[in-house]
């Protein structure tokens, strides 16, 4: 394994869907008076982020949070660059490495802000509102492009994304998410997915297409160990480590007309749009299709012509 000289960028996308975390908190409070699940989750993720930065001094990190109303960069955040004094106020009070301490304080503050905002203006949020995964992914991809371009001359960067997600997939986001996945594949960005409690068809596909690791965690207490074991090694190191085998991947697509997942559907022969029922005209490319009865006769005709020749 040759020592590679790439700068490694890790972008962590966290799902902070208030509904999902609220449910977790409700479940947890029934059992015992343990730490709030979101606090425990944040602590684990921050230790993992520290560990990533610890591996090499050229390693870089970014954190994006996605909720059901918006996606936001929480580290590095553009506002903090302008006022350097703000950073000074976080005095280092214990033996943690300074950069880690600063980064962790910034992240915790930002997450608090986000949660407060969410709880302030989204009281009457519909029950099934989804996390904006696609939005967060596209922001991440833009950030990666920018980081690659700003890389100092003579050095190159390899980026990967780690998605930490608990809430359910929503099929309305199918198109946007798939577009992000293919964009990531084209830019050689690996998407790793770490699912909390429930499976996600989108992320199974994302990790499979981009060559990342997909893993579902069933016990939140062991989150940190799983993160350190499976998601800390970069793709280059993974080649020499034994990783968990592939899971059964849900490759079902969502139809373009009703956004429902279909096993077998109709595909436009021109633009490959997917429909759950037969339509006389494709909504995407406006191609007209002949009725099934007319379509049946055409191939026969052709066959006859061929045999005549």
């Amino acid at each position: 394994m040759a020592e590679d000289t790439f700068r490694r960028l890790l972008v962590v996308v966290c799902d902070l869907s208030p509904i999902w975390w609220g449910k977790q908190a409700a479940n947890a409070s029934e059992n015992s008076d343990k730490m709030q699940p979101i606090n425990a989750f944040l602590n684990n993720v921050l230790v993992f982020c520290n560990a990533h930065l610890m591996m090499k001094h050229t390693n870089e990190l970014a954190i994006v949070c996605a909720t059901s109303s918006k996606s936001q960069f929480i580290y590095p955040c553009p506002e903090d660059v302008s006022d350097a004094n703000g950073e000074e106020s976080y005095g280092n009070m214990d033996g943690k490495y300074e950069h880690f301490a600063t980064m962790n304080n910034v992240v915790v503050d930002k997450v608090k802000n986000i949660i407060e905002e969410e709880s302030a203006d989204d009281v009457n949020l519909p029950e099934n509102s989804a996390t904006l995964l696609a939005g967060a992914l596209s922001m991440t991809l833009c950030y990666i492009r920018q980081a690659e371009r700003n890389c100092p001359v003579g050095q190159s960067m390899k980026a990967r994304i780690l998605v930490l997600k608990g809430s359910q997939d929503v099929s309305t986001q199918y198109m946007a998410t798939m577009n992000c996945i293919f964009a990531a594949q084209k830019n050689n960005v690996t998407i790793d997915s770490c699912l909390l409690m429930s499976d996600s068809g989108f992320l199974q596909q994302a990790s499979d297409i981009t060559g990342g690791v997909y893993f579902k965690i069933t016990k939140m207490e062991s989150l940190l160990q799983y993160l350190l074991w499976m998601f800390l090694p970069d793709p280059n190191t993974r080649e020499s480590l034994v990783m968990p085998g592939a899971v059964q991947i849900d490759y079902r697509a969502a139809c373009f007309c009703h956004r429902t997942l279909v096993d077998i559907g109709f595909v436009c022969s021109v633009c490959l749009s997917i429909y759950c029922q037969l339509l006389p005209r494709c909504h995407t490319c406006q191609t007209r299709f002949k009725l099934p009865s007319a379509a049946m006769t055409r191939p026969k005709k052709k066959k006859k012509e061929k045999t005549a020749d």
């Binding site: 000289t5 214990d94 033996g95 943690k96 490495y97 001359v153 003579g154 160990q225 800390l232 020499s240």
Partner: protein, 469 residues
């Protein structure tokens, strides 16, 4: 000392070798090594320089309290990559990060408890602050910006290099102290003649000058640390302070409170060579400079291009011309070591690489690789956009010129001739060959040459052999 021994060991093509952090640590006594892990900064630095797999091994066992069987560790790594796994394990054992636990049926490993707790502190927090609490000092009235620190650091370090080249430093900057001169002398970079007052630069000194700044400082620090105990300073305290600086934030000030006497003396030496800035000797705060931050990574000798923050200034063209955009007489002098300078302007000079100038450099002990490394690490940003950075024909030609020098190799030996019979010759030749001391033999002329070290053995064998016949 160490450098002297090395020079004797390899008299031909003597090459200045820079140890990386681990090689240095492995040379330390076990007791010192164990004490070193008592500070989070040291554990952090040691961890970062581990091989990739070993880092993951440590991370995986950081929160697992019970000892792990060796078979399990081997199962983590794919079969075809097992040799990396053993390499990583060996490194961990050598550095006493993983230790073998006795009392189990099979070999089991455990993370060194001191290392574990201090790495955890660096990673997740807790424990004591690394270097006192700065809050009681309040903001610095004489606070310095980053440009000033950069300029200061460069100035100080160049003063040391200027001293080595023997050229007078530009307008009235202060010279260097006896302590630094002593380090240069002991490390073999300079030697003092009996007649002359001022020390002279040695061939290894020339090689030192051509290294990039961070490697130079790392090499210098290693030699300095070798002498620390002789000066009555505590090596462990100095090392942990150095690592603490290694991970400090550029542009931030740190208090000198809570520092031991050894560390305060060490700080003064660091201040002199520009690794930290302290306004006055008695000042209660200091600023680390870019030279010291991430220093521990420099020893690993990675082939990275120009060190971060320092802009390259050399352009090499395929027609052997070298353009140097600098106003530093030191840098021009360094280029002058291996290239012929044809014109000089303020802030700019043109040199040309010729067979004569390069062989001159090779004769003074510099290798082709060092010349190329010098050009690569100081390459202009425009050059860095090309691959390879240095035109291929130039790199090849410099290597060819070096090979020219190596056409003839001298080996001392003893000639054996005038054998009476072919069988005598053959027995002796075979004996010498088996010992591995035969340099050359010609059976037609019954002549052979044995290396000087093997001469005694062969002579004894021949004397024993003779009376029987």
């Amino acid at each position: 000392m160490a450098a002297g021994g090395k020079q004797e060991a390899a008299p031909f093509g003597r090459h200045l070798k820079c140890k990386d952090l681990h090689q240095y640590l492995q040379g330390l006594p076990v007791s010192v090594l164990d004490k070193l892990y008592g500070h989070p900064a040291t554990c952090f630095a040691v961890f970062r320089e581990l091989p990739e797999l070993a880092k993951h091994f440590v991370m995986r066992t950081l929160f697992a309290e019970q000892p792990l069987p060796e078979t399990l560790v081997n199962a983590w790594v794919k079969k075809e990559q097992q040799n990396f796994c053993t390499g990583a394990l060996n490194r961990l054992k050598q550095l006493r990060i993983w230790r073998v636990v006795t009392g189990w049926s099979q070999t089991r490993y455990e993370l060194n408890p001191t290392f574990r707790s201090n790495l955890k502190i660096a990673l997740c927090g807790g424990g004591q602050p690394w270097c006192g609490v700065a809050d009681d000092l309040g903001p610095d009235r004489h606070s310095k910006d980053k440009e000033f620190l950069d300029k200061y650091a460069l100035e100080r370090w160049e003063a040391v290099l200027h001293f080595m080249t023997g050229s007078s430093p530009p307008d009235g900057t202060v010279g260097i102290s006896a302590d630094v001169v002593q380090v240069l002398l002991v490390s073999g970079l300079m030697k003092s003649d009996e007649q002359e007052q001022s020390p002279m630069i040695t061939p290894s000194g020339f090689q030192f000058l051509l290294m990039d700044a961070s490697s130079q400082i790392w090499y210098f620090m290693l030699k300095y640390l070798d002498m620390v105990e002789a000066r009555g300073m505590n090596l462990v305290e100095c090392l942990s302070f150095l690592f603490q600086l290694n991970f400090s934030t550029f542009g931030k000030d740190y208090p000198t409170d809570n520092m031991s006497d050894s560390q305060l003396r060490f700080l003064q030496h660091l201040r002199e060579i520009g690794l930290v800035f302290q306004r006055k000797r008695k000042s209660r705060r200091y600023y680390p400079t870019k030279l010291v931050i991430n220093l521990a990574a420099a020893g690993s000798g990675s082939m990275t291009t120009a060190s971060e923050g320092v802009e390259g200034f050399i352009v090499v063209e395929t027609n052997y011309r070298v353009y140097v955009y600098t106003d530093s007489p030191l840098q021009v002098a360094l280029v002058g070591l291996f290239a012929e300078i044809i014109c000089r302007f303020p802030k700019f000079c043109v040199a040309v690489l010729t067979r004569g100038s390069v062989s001159q450099a090779l004769l003074s002990g510099i290798t082709a690789d060092q010349v190329l490394h010098f050009l690569r690490t100081r390459a202009h940003p425009e050059m860095l956009k090309k691959t390879p950075v240095i035109p291929a024909n130039i790199a090849d030609q410099i290597r060819l010129w070096e090979l020219e020098k190596c056409r003839m190799q001298m080996t001392e030996g003893v000639l054996y001739n005038q054998f009476l019979s072919m069988s005598d010759f053959e027995t002796l030749r075979k004996y010498a060959e088996d010992l591995g001391v035969l340099i050359w033999a010609n059976s037609n002329k019954r002549v052979m040459i044995v290396s000087k070290s093997g001469h005694d053995d062969v002579k004894k064998f021949w004397k024993r052999q003779k009376p029987r016949e």
